[in-house]
């Protein structure tokens, strides 16, 4: 066992003891060491209102980047995170596509700025798990020519295919007696990418309560994750943080851009009924996935309250009539406890940026 694995497992055990709730017996196989502390600005979240236009998105992203890094030139801001030699992944969220997904305007603005600081378009990869979802969104029309689009699986979840996953980097755990006990990390993440930018949406999630920065990276970079739910029980509480904390995913994910142009407040991650979608028209930026997700939790809770729906924390029989799983929004706090960021709202600093 590597030192980092030991520390990670010790942290899980400590959290388990604190909660009095047994954490599943995770085993982590990874030969990768932490490459950097990716959370350069813990607890800081930059917030702006935007319009769904290229001009508004680009102007806002530039202003946020400069404010986050306290630089005057937007290229200098990006250089804090990215070098020209980097191979950069932009982690899309397309689980609800084509109705809700990482907006091509946001993805396009990020890709353009990467090229501006010298990253070759061929070294930029938009990536997601399922091809069938990504092809519903015209990303190629929004990014510089040569930017690559990579998916790990076709999209038919009955057909498993591990070729795009790293066989030596995995999280092993038996939740419900399932035979498939390993979740393998994307080969793109382990073998090609040197940096990753996470572009989630503001979404409710039927199992994890909300799906934001943490879940987009964790469940979107590993195979065989749907097994964490069975009956009404879900292990998203601990699996999300455990996957994200596995190297090299953790230390290569240097920036989170929460695309709040369109979100889902019920039925997520999909838009099962059009009226469950909403339009916060916000853009959040930061390096702290836990802090951003903690704020996301409030946004989804507030919207559900307005609409007269149960809280994502509500496991009462009445609430369970409206949902499949006992949701686990506590996964955000869990991620904070294992060192992925700041979950305590009193320690999160929201900076309003007007572009």
């Amino acid at each position: 066992m590597h030192r980092r694995e030991f520390i990670q497992l010790s942290a899980l055990a400590a959290v388990a003891a604190e909660n009095g709730d047994p954490v599943p017996q995770y085993k982590i196989s990874s030969s990768y060491r932490s490459e950097r502390n990716p959370n350069r600005y813990p607890g800081r979240v930059l917030q702006s209102s935007i319009e769904p236009t290229a001009e508004s998105v680009e102007r806002t992203l530039d202003a946020q980047m400069k404010a986050l890094t306290k630089t005057k030139d937007v290229r200098d801001a990006w250089r804090v995170f990215i070098e020209p030699k980097d191979v950069v992944g932009i982690k899309l969220n397309c689980s609800g596509a084509p109705k809700v997904m990482s907006h091509p305007l946001v993805v396009g603005a990020i890709a353009k700025r990467l090229v501006d600081v010298g990253v070759k378009p061929g070294n930029i990869y938009l990536y997601e798990r399922f091809h069938s979802q990504v092809i519903t969104v015209p990303y190629a029309d929004y990014v510089p020519q040569g930017v690559q689009i990579h998916t790990m699986e076709g999209g038919d979840r009955r057909v498993r295919d591990l070729r795009n996953y790293d066989p030596a980097t995995f999280v092993e755990v038996d939740f419900f007696g399932e035979e498939e006990t390993r979740s393998f990390m994307s080969r793109l993440v382990t073998e090609k990418l040197t940096k990753i930018i996470d572009v989630p949406n503001m979404k409710d999630h039927g199992a994890s309560g909300v799906t934001g920065c943490l879940k987009n990276m964790a469940y979107g970079s590993f195979s065989n994750v749907a097994r964490s739910h069975e009956g009404t029980k879900t292990h998203t509480l601990t699996l999300i943080g455990t996957l994200f904390n596995t190297e090299p995913l953790r230390s290569r994910t240097v920036l989170h851009v929460m695309d709040g142009i369109k979100g889902v407040w019920q039925g997520g991650p999909f838009v099962r009924e059009d009226h469950f979608a909403f339009f916060p028209n916000k853009l959040w930026l930061g390096t702290d996935p836990v802090a951003i997700d903690r704020l996301l939790l409030d946004v989804i809770e507030e919207k559900r309250k307005q609409e007269g729906w149960p809280s994502v924390w509500d496991h009462s029989p009445e609430a369970m009539k409206k949902q499949a799983f006992m949701r686990e929004p506590g996964h955000i706090e869990f991620a904070g406890k294992i060192g992925l960021g700041v979950a305590d709202k009193s320690k999160i600093k929201i900076e309003e940026i007007s572009a």
């Binding site: 085993k27 196989s29 009955r158 498993r160 295919d161 591990l162 070729r163 066989p167 030596a168 038996d174 007696g177 399932e178 035979e179 498939e180 006990t181 390993r182 393998f184 195979s223 097994r227």
Partner: protein
């Protein structure tokens, strides 16, 4: 219909005129399309395999009858892998479909290695225990069955014992899960990751090992991972209709040898020697 009957054993196939008396009728091997497409609550596809029949009656003679033409090569490979004395009843079209597989099997060497079994099942002959053994086989939990164990095993399963109460055998799937839990995954000699449609059969004398892999789907399975307990060095492989096959990306993790199979058509054998 012009019927031909092929007698299969681990060495030479032969043609005979009629099914031998007392032959044990087998399932038509494969997956059930309807249940593959609509996964059960366990999300596991429904696989019809016959490994447990061969374990239950190692000296028996078995009959494949009415197997669809495209599944005949799988039937031949299944019987061959387990070294079972089996008969396939088919017509001239089926005979032609079988020819390439029989030719492939004929060319395989026979290292004459004994089966690896982690579990011994006290076989009471009941159909429920038969279904338990079927599930153990399909889940790649290696076992032997009989009246009493002739050697030591990692786990002995006896329905009605304190560890395996009779009332639990009412649900064979849960019972098979219990067997797995008692054995523990760490002690399993064989694991397959990335497909629940492949059944493996491991033979070894401790110095050499041969792994038989059977694909019960109609299409080839792309890219899955196999783990064999112990430190093994890859020696050679042979795969039906795929001459380029080998063990790829071999890693050693927690006392086991893991490797990738990038493509499995219907049947392949992988040979290893002890490191």
């Amino acid at each position: 219909m012009n019927l031909a009957i092929l007698l299969l054993c681990a060495t030479l196939p032969a043609v005979v005129d009629h099914p031998p008396a007392g032959a044990i009728k087998l399932l038509k091997p494969g997956t059930r399309a309807d249940q593959t497409m609509n996964a059960s609550s366990s999300r596991a596809p429904w696989v019809d395999s016959n490994g447990w029949h061969f374990h239950r009656n190692p000296a028996g003679t078995f009959l494949y009858e009415g197997v669809a033409v495209q599944r005949l090569p799988l039937a031949a490979a299944e019987a061959f892998a387990y070294g079972a004395k089996s008969v396939i009843q088919t017509d001239e079209v089926g005979k032609a479909a079988l020819k390439p597989m029989l030719s492939f099997l004929e060319k395989l060497d026979d290292p004459k290695l004994p089966p690896v079994a982690d579990i011994f099942v006290h076989d009471d002959g009941t159909s429920i225990l038969g279904e338990v053994m079927n599930l153990l086989s399909r889940r790649n939990l290696l076992f032997e069955a009989g009246k009493k164990p002739a050697k030591s095993y990692k786990l002995v399963v006896e329905v009605g014992s304190a560890d395996f109460p009779k009332k639990l055998a009412v649900n064979p799937s849960d019972f098979a899960r219990l067997v797995r839990k008692k054995l523990t995954d760490e002690k399993r000699s064989l694991r397959i990751y990335g497909s629940e449609i492949i059944v493996g059969y491991l033979t070894s004398d401790g110095k050499k090992a041969r792994l038989h892999l059977l694909n019960y789907a109609t299409d080839p399975i792309e890219s899955f991972r196999v783990r064999i307990l112990g430190d093994w060095k890859f020696s050679k492989a042979a795969s039906y209709n795929d001459p380029s096959v080998k063990a790829e990306e071999i890693t050693y993790y927690e006392g086991g040898t893991d490797f990738t199979v990038s493509r499995l058509t219907t049947y392949a054998v992988y040979d290893f020697v002890k490191k």
